[in-house]
Amino acid sequence: MSDNQSGSTRRRFLQGTGVAAVSASLAGCSGNGDGDGTETSGDDEDTPTPDQTPTEAQDDADDIPTGGIFNFGMGTNPNTLNALSSSSAYVGVITDRIYESGAAIDPVNFEMHPNVFTDWESEVLDETGDNGQSNVEIYFNVRTDGLTWNDGEEFTVSDVIFSYNYLLEQNPGGYAASLSPIVSVEEDDGDWDCVMTLNQPNGTFAYDQFGLPILPEHRWSDVDDYTTYEPADTDFGPVGLGPGVVTQWDPDTSVEVSFAEREGEYNLSELSWREEVPGVIAGGPFIDAMRIRVYSSQSALHQALFQGDIDSLYEGVRTSRISDAQEDENINLLDGFDTGYGHYSFNLRNTPLDDLPFRQVLGFAFDDVLWTQQLQRGYAQEGDFVMPPGYTAVRPETGSDQELLDGPSTQAFSFRQSSPSVPDVENIRAFLTEGQVITGEGGTYVGQDYPGSLTGVTASQTEPKHDYSFGPVESDVLQESDQDPDQEIRVNGETIPEINDGPLTMLMSPAQEAPQSAQMIQDWISSLQQIGIPIDREVVSFNTRVTRAYGEESYDAFSMGWVNLSPFATNTLYSLFHSDNADDHSVAETEGDDENTSTLLNNAMGYGVFDDAGADDLIDEARTTLEPEARNQASREAVERIYLDFPTMVVDYGVPKWPVSAEWSGALENIPGPGSTYLGTQIMQIHQSE
């Protein structure tokens, strides 16, 4: 259910939330760290590991107590019920109960299952579209019996045809990535209900194209501009195929989604595949209604949880309160893992960030222990690859003998310290001056062994571009720095300020949005300054950061986070690391075309734009491979290539601790985003405990 906001919508989530949440601490929901986390990978008691199957909630839908009202808290208010115009996850909490999509993903095996569409098959045509790729036709059947709109209206095939064409015509930004390959969706004159034509092969169409929401023709047909349509203003509220109806809507304070008052039939929760997935309970929802309370701050939200005003809250308990929650016997903490990662990304367009060894040095200087153990209080996992540990199928460790997250090959860029918390300045400098690079070859780098890459890929760049040396401190940043470094770096003989007229600057969020990461950046910068790298921070609010990084790419480094990434990697890799999604400023400058700087593209690093840093080949391969295993293999290689090329430094994966009042049981544990991405699954099977 929860994947009706599929593909890129998910990925926009952060910005979406961020915008809605700036005032209520963005941190709570951002990959860049504060708020969400998990037990340290050190103690095993409840660390999720891929082989560990989700805890079996009691099965057998018949003797499950039904009824009751589930009180749910959020730290940010949902601003609309228009699923197309909003990419806020807080809106999703409601609209996910309303809208359904063709196919559903299960949060355990990440397999696609029938949902509104009963079955489908695809066939690659030999004809190729203007993009040089061969077109694909996907035939599918629509489940019209036993399923009606939540306002009781009859659901027909034409609704499906309508909503796809409506989406194609309106092309809401949130769904653009999934819509762009679609050429047409028509009624099939054969023995299938419908046929969808794509302009390129896509192994994960069930996730992308079938993940689009299905809209009621009788509601949307007369909506000319989706952006100005507000379902909340209509007499019934938003109409969809989902199990819920909105029965109270005061976006500033409270929203009620009722399941008991839904009109007509709903049978999607009884589909047979659900029984087969461990932990998933079919036959839901078992609660009468879900009441959403909006709080102005994380403090208020958590206070409400501990006072029992709410049974659960969005995403998870913030780190500072986890221990309290563990002690509170009225609250069960469900473990889950991240659906994304927190990262610092570098602008490959700027010298010396265009050089691999330099970027890698930035990694050596980042004290990940301080971050995960101290600032995150051990409730975060040290980051390495651009795929969260939950998505094992596409993690390079798979198929290797190395342990997830802790294998030596994932530690290539870990903090190099001479004594605890003190950067190993001398050896790090040596790494640069001696012209070393971690290319994927095994070896000892800055006093730490690296066995070589897991998948055998190597970095795009094999030796340094620039030659580095250290000389007397000249730049102001370093002279004023209280680290007072004894030397300053020279890139091809020049200091960095001389090259970029100014030191490197790190865009960071205001401390209020993310107090811990603010401190982390302070620490990181001071380490770098000790090494002799002139770098400074610039505090900018979330919006400005988004514009500067994704819009204008006018930055050296910035901190941000991703969540709700696709478990199939291909979309993620494409939209985050493919040159198609990066602005090539070299072009812009020559043509004086500023358009390409104003577009918001996810690949802010410009990774792939330059020949000496890119994984386009591997990504394209993965995207167009239909056979799952081959596709995942390609993804894994791409992932490790990106790791080695270090355009972005993955600092952590949060592992959410999702609180649920002891009065309720049936929730799934050890799944990604138990309280966010797959909240839908939870709502469908949560029920009163005896």
Binding site: R12, S23, T228, D252, L600
Partner: protein, 329 residues
């Protein structure tokens, strides 16, 4: 029977209106000169430039600035506040929904503050220099020095967190079980507004006291106060009917400043207590670059202040028969 000449009133109204226009222009410039734009919240990856242009179109961001300005000014004359991109709703609706909530909080505090303040000021001014005056005055200054959000936290801590007597958020019970009658609603609101008002007035009353106290003290030396004593009137009568009545006049002027103070206060308070009013969105809208909302909120608050100005002018003439506006004040 008012001593305000219609001509004068008309003049004042025109001036206030012009003031508003200037304020609006100022707003427009200020908000537009902020870095970033709410577009970022609506543009997403993989969007073609056409789509982005379309969005810019929808929100009129492609127009040249001066055009946007003209539209803005004209629309506001016609009460068209535009649509909020973050709330995806007409700003007017948003305002209509939130303005009353703020006014309730506002009015209540304003009233209480301007009852307590002058009263205390009256006594302190009357007994100026006495032990009582000194101690009360300095304590009130201490209160005045408290950050409003901090004192709110303390109140929440005690009355909500520890004692659980009063709610610490919202204006209504979110999912009321009780019968929805005028009475129950009233009770519910009072129940919810208690803490915010406490926090706001705890500090708010001092302002008017600070104006009342010295004027009251000056008045006590006036001949008519002496005469009132000589008439054999009781202390209370003299203090209230003769002294305080005159001392009130400057307080009326102070009301405007007091209002400004209250606006700031309620912005903080609304954020602390999750009071879904104007103060709450004015901050977020600015941070989110939601210009339509920010503009409207600023504008309405400005209107509030300007109207307040007019009102005080009128009140003034009732308080002080000597003043005849219009004949060259």
């Amino acid at each position: 029977m008012t001593r305000i000449s219609g001509k004068y009133l008309a003049k004042r109204i025109v001036v206030s209106y012009l003031t508003l226009l200037v304020i609006m222009s100022l707003l427009f410039v200020l908000l537009r000169s902020m870095p970033g734009s709410f577009i970022t919240s609506m543009i997403s990856s993989g969007m073609t430039n056409e789509q982005i242009q379309q969005i810019r179109e929808t929100w009129g961001l492609n127009e040249p600035l001066w055009r946007q300005y003209i539209d803005f000014m004209i629309n506001y004359q016609t009460g068209n506040f535009g649509r909020s991109p973050t709330y995806n709703a007409p700003v007017a609706d948003l305002m209509i929904r939130r303005m009353p909530r703020t006014l309730v909080l506002f009015g209540a505090t304003f009233l209480i503050g301007f009852i307590i303040g002058p009263l205390v000021g009256m006594y302190l001014g009357w007994w100026r220099g006495s032990k009582k005056d000194k101690s009360i005055f300095s304590t009130s200054l201490l209160l005045y020095s408290m950050p409003s959000f901090w004192i709110s936290w303390l109140f929440i801590w005690v009355f909500n967190y520890e004692l659980g007597w009063l709610p610490s958020a919202y204006m209504f019970t979110q999912f009321p079980e009780f019968q929805w009658t005028a009475f129950t609603v009233m009770r519910d609101v009072l129940y919810h507004i208690a803490l915010p008002i406490m926090s706001l007035t705890f500090i708010g009353w001092v302002g008017s006291m600070l104006i009342m106290r010295p004027t009251m003290n000056q008045v006590t030396d006036e001949g008519y106060v002496f005469l009132a004593h000589a008439k054999g009137l009781s202390e209370r009568t003299v203090m209230i009917k003769h002294a305080a009545r005159n001392a009130l006049i400057p307080v009326a002027t102070g009301a405007v400043v007091g209002l400004a103070f209250l606006i700031d206060g309620s912005i903080i308070i609304e954020n602390v207590f999750n009071w879904p009013g104007m103060g709450q969105i004015i901050v977020t809208s600015v941070l989110n670059r939601d210009f339509p909302v920010a503009q409207a909120t600023f504008f309405l608050l400005a209107v509030l202040v300007v109207i307040m100005r007019l009102v005080t002018d009128v009140v003034y003439t009732y308080l002080d028969p000597r003043i005849k506006f219009g004949e060259g004040e």
